[in-house]
Amino acid sequence: MSQHFEAQGISVVYDRGIKPVVGLKKISLEFDPSQITCIIGPSGSGKSTLIKALIGIVPLKTGLVHLDEDLLSSSDDSHYGHNFSHSRQQARSRVAWIAQDYCLSNNSTVLSNVCMGALYKKSLFDTLFQGFSQAIKDKAYGYLTELGLEEKVHEKVRRLSGGQKQRVAIARSYLQDSWWILGDEPFAALDEGYKKQVIQSLRNRHKEGRGQILVVHDLTLALEMSDRIIALKEGQLVFDGSPEKWTEQHWETVFGLEELS
């Protein structure tokens, strides 16, 4: 099982709003599943866009995203939401996403939201006439317990707090049994206690062999937990290397203000 995950020259342009905004400019990256990669950069630098481009839910202007032999996203897609070919679905199922704003179904229960991670294992008939199997529910309950949510299993997601929703999204990404976990600020809404717990659980998944690409706001945390740092600024790659190579100079380039007045 090679887990070759690669983005080739991806650009993203958002053309809604007053004028088009360039999200990403021709970024090429290769990821190694044995590493935890952290993406950093100032607000609006394209971190979330990069994650969304990698999981294929943002239309690409140029470039490709490959996972193993399967194409995950391509600029040739006429409408990014309408490609449901077998290989595309397979590629998507192998990359799990923890969304920044959780992206959970507010009107469904916590359990149902987590089980959605295993939808790709269900047939059309099962989707219509049967709920999720007991095995999947047990597994979901296990992850929810690991993340301290065992008492909220049958609660509607709309009744949860931000931090709880974030942990539900994390549990779903675990249940997906993916090769990769892509987290968009997975600790943003968590207090210190749960942050530690979630970092530990992410490390457990890493030991199980799941590659990780995480957007982390907290630079200290990013330098501490990652094996590789990727820094973005204005949609461009400005740093790519191990945390040991990160210097004050780089901080200045990435986060420094042009001119203080």
């Binding site: 007053i18 999981i55 294929g56 839910i57 939401g81 309408h82 449901f84 679905q89 397979q90 590629a91 998507r92 199922s93 192998r94 990359v95 799990a96 996403w97 969304a99 704003d101 992206c103 959970l104 179904s105 507010n106 009107n107 469904s108 149902s112 959605m116 991670g117 295993a118 939808l119 790709y120 269900k122 059309l124 989707t127 219509l128 999204a169 779903r172 997906q176």
Partner: protein, 262 residues
């Protein structure tokens, strides 16, 4: 302390329409008043001599109440079944006519069909349908069904267009199929709002369907014609009081239902 800030906020790039819009509205009102000045003076002065005919006490005799109740039940039946059937048909049609449909030809076809259905007022439907199905409640139900299906599908389509598609995206990102994305990512987000719209439509339809009796499609409208043609209008006032009670009661019921589903 300086009075002005050294940093200037840039002006909005969008054009200002407030002044032009207000002036045009005012002009239109003046024009309408001027255009109908004679009629306004004539009709308003007509009312003056007839207070005794209009302002009379409602008639709450058992016979009248029994009659009104039985006709009101007809109207509620028409509104309920008509709205229910309309909503059930509107759901798949609005999905076809929304951007999610996928097939451009089908989408346009469904949109044109719905625009056509929507363009015709309820009373016309009532009138036409009684020609096919005869006088009575059944015609009323069919008329309300077609009418609400047009309006509800418009609201459903807007609801689908305004839907936050991030939930669908997140379901799609797990590798789910097209139908699963719809079933788990969109339907749970849409159904509560669809239900709320349908209940609101039911509430409005009780009022709208009451006019159907005028063209013979059943319900309270028949009594309106009867009571309205013979002054003094005691019974007409009873009807109005009934309307108020029934509509408020149904409104409260609908609010409860919507709350219970949240």
């Amino acid at each position: 302390m300086s009075a002005t800030s050294p940093i200037k906020c840039p002006p909005s790039p969008f054009p200002k329409l407030n002044f032009i819009g207000l002036s045009l509205t005012l002009l239109a009102v003046l024009f309408i008043l001027y255009d109908n000045k004679e009629e306004i003076v004539r009709n308003l002065s007509l009312v003056q001599g007839n207070y005794d005919k209009y302002l009379v006490a409602p008639d709450f005799s058992v016979k009248v109440i029994k009659q009104i109740t039985s006709y009101f039940i007809d109207t509620i039946e028409i509104a309920f079944l008509g709205t229910l059937l309309g909503a059930v048909i509107a759901l798949p049609l609005s999905l076809l006519a929304s951007d999610m449909g996928g097939v451009a030809f089908v989408t346009s076809l469904a949109r044109v069909f719905l625009a056509f259905v929507r363009s015709i007022p309820l009373i016309f439907y009532g009138y036409i349908i009684t020609k096919f199905f005869g006088l009575g409640v059944v015609s009323g139900i069919i008329a309300v069904m077609i009418y609400s299906l047009g309006i509800l599908s418009k609201q459903f389509i807007d609801e689908i267009a305004n839907l936050d598609d991030t939930v669908a995206h997140s379901v799609m990102s797990t590798g789910a199929g097209r139908f699963q994305v719809f079933w788990y990512g969109l339907l749970p987000e849409l159904l509560p709002n669809f239900l709320a719209f349908s209940l609101l439509r039911f509430e409005i339809n009780i009022r709208e369907a009451s006019i159907l009796g005028v063209v013979g499609a059943g319900g309270i409208g028949i009594l309106l014609m009867q009571y309205g043609s013979m002054p003094p209008y005691n019974k007409l006032w009873t009807l109005i009081v009934f309307f108020f009670i029934v509509v408020v009661a149904i409104e409260i019921l609908c609010r409860w239902t919507i709350k219970a589903t949240k």
